[in-house]
Symmetry: C2
Subunit: 207 residues, 2 copies
């Protein structure tokens, strides 16, 4: 626990390495060089080696890296060597899309329940949907690792408070708002509209 001094840029590259290495492994490729990884990721080979050095290096660079081992090591670093229970608060379009997405289960993220103020159906894609007033009891009775906030911006802060009060320490936030949380709570934001606006900016300022 508690790797320190790893830069944001390296942390953000880890899932990209993982994705590429998984694809290589699934294609039965056994070894990969830092220069091949570098080319795929659009960085330099020395950057790849430097990134890996943060985590002990992953074996000899002269022979390239053992793909299976690399996959296992990076999965473990990302915490993908275990399973997690998730709940989603907000059963709107995004909440439902996440509940329906099969890719998360494959990586060990199990979506256990959806919560919403306004319950319109009892289950969605096999995931039970509960009213918000059940959230506290549910969190007391179930071991939940991650909570997804997929509500409107104006209720996200209240939802976060309630989740944290009931022991949630990791939040994946889809609401377009920066949540204020205690230091021991981890929040990862994903903002659709910010991404769309960057696209719009780049389209306008095409070079």
């Amino acid at each position: 626990m508690g790797r320190k001094g790893i830069s944001e840029a390296v942390i953000k590259r880890l899932p990209k390495y993982y994705r590429q290495i998984k694809m290589l492994d699934d294609a039965n490729i056994e070894r990969v060089s830092s220069s091949t990884l570098a080319e795929i990721l659009g960085i330099t080979a020395s950057q790849v080696r430097q990134d890996f050095y943060n985590f002990g290096g992953f074996g000899q660079q002269g022979y390239g890296y053992d793909v299976k081992n690399l996959r296992k090591e990076i999965a473990a670093i990302l915490g993908l060597d275990q399973e997690y229970n998730m709940i989603i608060v907000g059963a709107g379009h995004i909440g439902k899309a996440l509940a329906g997405y099969k890719g998360f289960v494959k990586e060990g993220f199990r979506i256990k329940a959806l919560f919403d103020i306004n319950v319109q159906e009892k289950t969605y894609n096999g995931v039970p949907v509960y009213p918000m007033y059940n959230l506290e009891d549910y969190l007391k009775e179930n071991q939940i690792d991650f909570a997804v906030i997929a509500t409107q911006a104006d209720s996200a802060e209240d939802v976060a408070r309630e989740l944290i009060k009931n022991g949630i320490k990791s939040i994946w936030n889809f609401a377009p708002i920066d949540l204020r949380v205690p230091k021991d709570v981890v929040v990862e934001n994903i903002s659709m509209s910010e991404s769309l606006f960057v696209l719009s900016y780049r389209s306008k300022n095409r070079t």
Copy 2:
């Protein structure tokens, strides 16, 4: 067209400024200082002024910024002072969630059609759903500015090629793959699983 030398970090902050300034404006707040904006965004006041300086400064800092004017200026920089027609390729969970999301229309992004190999319903949330083999004709007959790729990774590259061949120059990519595109095509990626893995990493390496 063609602002040059604006850093990636500044571009990524623009939507955050826009979001905050819109909230201030909607709350009828007329002026805002760089230090208030800085606090909200978690950066320094001098960084805010430096960011704005890239675009001409937006008025005197001693008196703070005029919120309405700032909103208008940043909207224009982001290209949000006009309307766009979008299509979505891939009518799975994510494609449908995007088609159902009302927030985009408010900012001028109109979702005109969904495309999928396997058309299960003729419309979704009022958006027509067409089979993939209609894509080429559709793009010839309609003025489409942005295309969203919400397919599986393994078909995203083919979809991108088809879109580009038919004149699309701006792609919002939700497929977990880095698309290879000609230089004049703009791609903005949004990767759910990368974001989730970063959350998982941070949860494991909590400090």
